[in-house]
Every structure is written in C-alpha cells, then in structure tokens.
Amino acid sequence: MDLATLQALNAARAGRRAAVVFTDLETDRSVLCVEGERCADEWIDAMTAALRSGKPGMIMAGGRSLFLNVYLPPPRILVVGAVHISQALARMAAVAGFDLTIVDPRTAFATAERFSGVELIAEWPEDVLKARPLDRFTAVVAVTHDPKIDDEPIRAALAAGCFYVGALGSRKTHASRVERLRRFGVSDDALAQIKAPIGIDIGAASPAEIAVAILAEIIEALRRRDILSGSEAHR
C-alpha cells in the first residue's frame, strides 16, 4: 500500500465514511474507494456489495485475484439530554468501546462539572445535527422527557436509518409521541423501530440500572441486526 492510499483511508475513517480497499495480490497495487466519492466504474459493483455485506474477502475481477477489505465507521451513541441516566451511560459506553456525545440545549443540565471527560454540546439537537449528520452506524438515545428537544432528533434518526433509536417515557408518553411524529409524516414502519419504553426489561430502577438496560439494548441492536440493510441478521 502506498502512503497516499493509507492517508486517504485514514482520513475517510476519521470522517466516519465507509471505505473499501482492493489489493491486487500479483502486483500489490491498492485502489481505495470511499463511500460518497467517485470510484472507477470497474470497482463500483464490488464496492456496493462489500458495503452491503460489510464482509472483507478474496474476489476475482478481470481474471485477477484481489483482496477486498471493508472499513465501516465504528459505532457511536448520540444522547439527547444531559440527565442523570446520561451521566451513568457515558461512563459505561466508554468501557464498552462506543464513542458517545451528549446534546442538551438546557445549560443548567449540560455543565462540564456534571459531565467531566464526556463530549457535551449545550445546543439544540437540530443545530448540532446540521454540522454532524446522523448515519446508520449511530445509536440515538432521547432522554430529556421534553418533546421540544427529543422529537426532532428522533425523527432525524429514523430518517437516517440509525441502527438504534430509543426514547425514554412510559407507554402513554410514547403513544402521544408517536401521534406527534405521525403528524410530521413519519411512517408507521419507522415509528415501530423506536425502542420505548427504552432499555431491555431487567426491572431497572436507578439511573445507573436504566443506563445498563439501554446499553444492553444498543449492543443487541448492533450485534443482532444487519446495520447496513436494517434487517435482522441470521444467527
């Protein structure tokens, strides 16, 4: 691999763009294709298939034996709401290997003191999402209890195909949320993707226990679903 290819690959990975590298095993020449950028016609079909399956491996192309490697962005969690649950979730997510960002426009909640060492943005989610769009490798956790703050990122997460969308609130609260989102044109199929009440059912009571339930549900979504197609993976 030449240095320019390595640098371009690392830049794509740092920018959370999926990438595929084709290496000709005879000549040791490498070709990089990055999602959303131009790629020579001869590579497009193999790249599309690789991004869909997420699987690296040997392929034959034009009578040549090629190794194809796939680089998908690492999973991350966007938490809407700088609340007590988020404080616990931020610590646990770091241990489990997720990048995590917390967004909350309420500056009384979003203080550096409460969230030491955590990436915290004290702005409206819709403003944050303009600069950093959601992708299917992101989990969105909405826990403010305030529709003015939660609804828009939930809608955006469903539109972006995020691999997990969870929202805090009782069944009654969720039923009214579903009604509001339906009025905004969100389809019933998309609404059915929302995990609510949030978290796997382990009888969690304290904020830290609820954070465990949420993190477990995120891991389940990541490992048991094909996050590329959104369908259930075969186990």
Binding site: M1, D2, L6, N10, R13, D28, P56, G57, G117
Partner: protein
C-alpha cells in the same frame, strides 16, 4: 477516550510512524479456514525495529510475521504468508486453535 482508541488503531499508528520517518509494513489477514483467532481484514503493523501494533492471530503467529516483515521492509516486495496445522513452521510458532490463515505483508511506500 479518543486518544486511547487512536493509539490502538493499527492503521493510524502506521501513518504516524511513517510521519516519524520510520519504515512500516502492514500485515493483513486475507483468508481464514476453520476457527481462526482474528477475522479477515485484521491488521498488524510493524516498523523496522520490530515494534508492532494490532494483531493477525491474537498472539499465535505474530512473532513469525514480525520477523518476515524485516525482509519485506528491506526488499519492498510484498509477500503472502500462510500458517496452519498442515504447515511445519506454523505448527512450531503455534496456531493453537487448529485454524489456518493467510496473511498479506506489504511495505508502506511513500
């Protein structure tokens, strides 16, 4: 947290090492058979002094890959290494689980 992840990312380490003026080889698992310890696509990066980051077998054959990398850094010619129970050398270096792997080792050329 970000810093920790970056230092454990073999390809980011490879780029940083080249930036430091070091020679760097990248080893990549290209095929596996049976119960291989690391999946296809896994990377190990090695510099001219034998420093390394990442893994291609979770510790089974890294030693052999690192010593082969020294030659590849010198000649610049990529090589495909194969390890498995059928291979005398691999048995000696110990792919304990009984799987078989092929590893591409290539130099980063600036």
């Amino acid at each position: 947290m970000q810093v920790l992840v970056d230092t454990l990312d073999p390809l980011a380490v490879a780029e940083a090492w080249v930036g430091d003026g070091r020679q760097v080889a990248i080893a990549t698992v290209i095929e596996t058979w049976g119960s291989a310890p690391r999946p296809v696509g896994s990377h190990l990066v090695i510099d001219g002094a034998g420093n390394f980051e990442g893994s291609v077998s979770g510790g089974c054959v890294e030693g052999a890959v690192i010593s082969e990398a020294a030659d590849i850094l010198e000649t610049g010619k990529a090589k495909i290494l194969e390890f498995g129970v059928a291979d005398e050398t691999a048995w000696r270096v110990g792919l304990s689980c009984g799987g078989r792997i092929r590893v591409l080792v290539e130099r980063v050329d600036g």
